[in-house]
């Protein structure tokens, strides 16, 4: 069955690039361009995996991640943080809010696909071990 990935990213160009790449690899993609819409879609669509930007309008990625990871019905959805921010501090916060992996833009598409595959292949029971450690 086609796996469903929610991409939450406010830059329309980057969103398109990620969407096209993942669709070419046979994933079903749903998108959101701000934090609030992203959180709502995560709740209503229950995707198999979430790609999450950090700097987002309305709700930032860290907050979304924490809210999802505290929600018993959603906590098992793997979350990959995808961001241009690289500071150690962000990595630390990412860990604390329970993100499963962290990729820096520009990302290597092969690595993104590999991480997604590993998470999705496990088809999910929490707790998760990220394939690429922080």
């Amino acid at each position: 069955m086609t796996k469903k990935i929610l991409v939450i990213e406010d830059d329309p160009k980057m969103l398109r690039i990620i969407k096209d790449r993942l669709e070419a690899n046979n994933y079903q993609i749903i998108t959101a361009v701000d934090g609030e819409a992203g959180l709502n879609k995560a709740r209503s669509e229950k995707p198999d995996l979430i790609l999450l930007d950090i700097l987002l309008p309305k709700l930032n990625g860290f907050t979304i991640c924490r809210l999802l990871k505290f929600d018993e019905t959603l906590m098992s959805i793997p979350i990959i943080m995808l961001t241009a921010k690289t500071s150690e501090n962000d990595l630390e916060i990412g860990k604390k809010v329970g993100a499963d992996a962290y990729l820096v833009k520009p990302f290597d598409p092969a690595i993104l696909l590999l991480i997604i595959e590993q998470f999705i292949a496990k088809s999910v029971t929490a707790p998760f071990r990220p394939p690429i450690p922080f």
């Binding site: 830059d11 790449r21 070419a24 241009a84 690289t86 520009p106 598409p109």
Partner: protein, 249 residues
């Protein structure tokens, strides 16, 4: 007298504040630029990988060229971003007790492809029973990768690079990267570790980079209370050395 001192302190604080604002502004601009360059690089990667259809050989060559210069731009931006963080004193190291040999191996694996392209052999001389070091692993890997990158860049095809570790008297470890490349004349050495320094301005920037790498290395090593220096002579290669504190046994 006291009034004069108070005045000077005030003026000094104002300058510091302006400097901080400048660095914050620079960091924001670089962050935005990085986002743009991410779109370029990932967009080109999609095109080259045929995500939205196939291209002719010539079209792919053009995409390759755009991709390559986009990659260099990202690299430069990353370096500028690093430097602006140092300037804003926002870089905090995450120091842990580590083994230096593992870090050397990691940075070597990052540079292996570049070394292979020039058929350069990198020889490692690390004595057994080394004391552990207290360092930020990512920072030290970055320093080592920068030094290997330079050594490869300035070495001839088929030559050797030697990386060695020595225990110093003052509870420090000295790590040295020695190449047999073009070497540096005495007058070129003092400014080598400052920003935007390049020895030979006539050489294309694209080949040598903007000379930010060693400035970043110096800042990382200084944050470790270590030293970084070079011994070199034209035509006789260079040895880049740095020290880091050993962990007490």
């Amino acid at each position: 007298m006291m009034a004069r001192i108070a005045e000077l302190i005030k003026a000094n604080n104002k300058i510091r504040e302006l400097d901080r604002l400048k660095s914050d502004f620079a960091a924001t601009v670089f962050h935005e630029l990085r986002l743009f360059s991410s779109v370029n690089r990932n967009g080109i990667a999609n095109l080259l990988d045929g995500v939205v259809g196939e291209f002719t050989k010539e079209q792919r060559e053009y995409l390759g060229m755009i991709g390559e210069s986009s990659q260099m731009m990202t690299h430069l931006l990353n370096n500028l971003l690093d430097l602006s963080k140092f300037e804003a004193e926002k870089t905090t190291l995450n120091k842990v007790i580590s083994e230096i040999e593992g870090l050397i191996d990691k940075s070597l694996s990052l540079m292996q492809i570049k070394a292979n392209e020039k058929k350069i052999t990198i020889i490692k001389q690390v004595p057994g029973n080394l004391p552990k070091v207290i360092i930020d692993p990512n920072g030290i890997i970055e320093v080592l990768a920068n030094l290997f990158d330079n050594a490869i860049k300035f070495s001839g095809t088929g030559s050797e690079i030697l990386v060695s570790v020595q225990v110093m008297q003052n509870e420090k470890l000295k790590i040295s990267v020695k190449d047999n490349g073009v070497g540096i004349a005495g007058e070129g050495i003092p400014g080598l570790f400052s920003e935007f320094h390049q020895i030979d301005r006539s050489t294309r920037l694209a080949e040598k980079g903007l000379g930010l790498g060693l400035a970043i290395c110096r800042k990382i090593i200084e944050l470790h209370a270590g030293e970084i220096w070079v011994e070199s002579e034209p035509g006789k290669g260079s040895v880049f050395n740095f020290t880091v504190p050993a962990a007490k046994a």
